[in-house]
Each structure stands twice: as C-alpha cells, then as structure tokens.
Symmetry: C2
Subunit: 129 residues, 2 copies
C-alpha cells in the first residue's frame, strides 16, 4: 500500500478502504458496489469520494474502466491485459487470462495503428445452466 504514497497520493482512511476493497477483487464492481461496500466502514462516505478516488487511480493507470455493462461503468483493479466472459442471464463477468493471436487482414486494417484489443465473450455461465 505504501506504493500509493510513493506516487503522491494521500493515504486517507477512506482511500485505504477503497483500495483494500479493490485489491484482488475480480467482481468488476460498479461505483455503487464500491460505495456500498466501503460505506459499512465509513457511514459518511460519499459518492464524490468514490468517484474522485476511482478517477485518480484511473489517471495513474492503476485501475481500468470497463465498458462491459451498458447501464453503468464497471471497474477492474487488474490492469494486466485480459478478456472477459459475460453471462447473458445473470450478467456475471469472469476474467479470461489468455493471449489470443488475432491479426486483422491488411485490407481491413488500412493504416490503422493497432495498440491493443479486448474480447468480450458472451454465453451462459455454469450457475445459470
């Protein structure tokens, strides 16, 4: 956790609680999920603090903002490149740690300069079958 202070972040108790909740979390929580979780420790916690902290972390490259849910932003503390499997029924999102070798044919690529990719897999999870 000291590494946060090293990059110029003030380690307030609220932030520590948010960081602790996010650390190793693979549930891809929304801002509200985070707010609800941390509010138990800090009843005065506000959405502003949650959003401010998330934005601060994102700007420093310590957090990813995911577009996998059309209704709200989801956050992922795992900044390693990876993909996601989404259950169409319960909306659960599972990480897929595997590097796929996908190459776009040159005639489609034109002069686009590729920097990365993200795959969303859709299906039905074991629990929903």
């Amino acid at each position: 956790m000291e590494r946060y202070r090293d990059i110029g972040l003030k380690l307030t108790p609220q932030r520590l609680a948010i960081l602790e909740f996010l650390d190793g979390n693979t549930s891809h929580p929304s801002a509200e999920d985070i707010y609800n979780a941390v509010k138990e420790k800090f009843p005065t916690m506000s959405f502003a603090t949650v959003y401010n902290t998330l934005e601060t972390l994102r700007k420093r490259g310590l957090l990813l903002e995911l577009n996998i849910d059309p209704e709200r932003k989801r956050y992922d503390p795992n900044i390693e490149p990876h993909h996601h499997m989404i259950c169409l029924r319960c909306k659960k999102v599972v990480d897929v740690h595997f590097e796929f070798d996908i190459k776009i044919p040159a005639e489609q690529l034109k002069d686009f300069h590729l920097l990365g990719n993200h795959i969303e897999f859709y299906g039905i999870c074991p629990d929903c079958r």
Copy 2:
C-alpha cells in the same frame, strides 16, 4: 421497408425517417446523433420517439446496442456478427468484417456455454496519425 410492417410495426413517417437514416449507416450513431439527423425532417421529433423506436427495433433483433462508448449507447443497424476498431484519439469506430478463430482453453472456459464474442481493437486511425 415493407418487411417492418410485416412484423407488426406501424410505419409512421417518423419511423421511416429513422429507418432510412439507419439503413446502411456505419457511423455507429448515438441516440442524439439520430435525433439530430431526423429532426431536420421532423422538427417536432422527440427523444421519446427515437428511444422508443430504437428499443422496438432492438427487441426485434433488427438493431444492435453497442457498449463501445462509456458515455452513451451507440447503435448499429448491421446485425451481422462483426468487430470494431476504435480510434483512441478521435473516437471513430470502424467495422471489422472478419471472423477470428478464437478458442478459450478448456481450463479457463470451465462449463461456460459460449454463444458469441465481440472484439474491440484500440489504436490510432489514419486520419489522426
């Protein structure tokens, strides 16, 4: 256009204008883009009508709702499975019509029943280079 009536949709002038704007459109417009475009023909056009029509089309599988933009929903009249290339600078979205052979290793797949996938490619488009 008659096919819309065949599936039980009333062909109002407003709807025809929306359908005409969407037909063959590869710009992945937002609801506001569609509203602005159609408002020129129908100054009384309301967002309610745009959203109602989009939702009606989506429910009938005639339109895709895209999650590629965290700020707003984008719509795609091309319902053929395809992927997207997104310019990180100008946010332009280009279709990628190519089927990639991607298989998730069994130990990652678990008992997830896969139904489809969508790849977002990130990079810089020729215009922005």
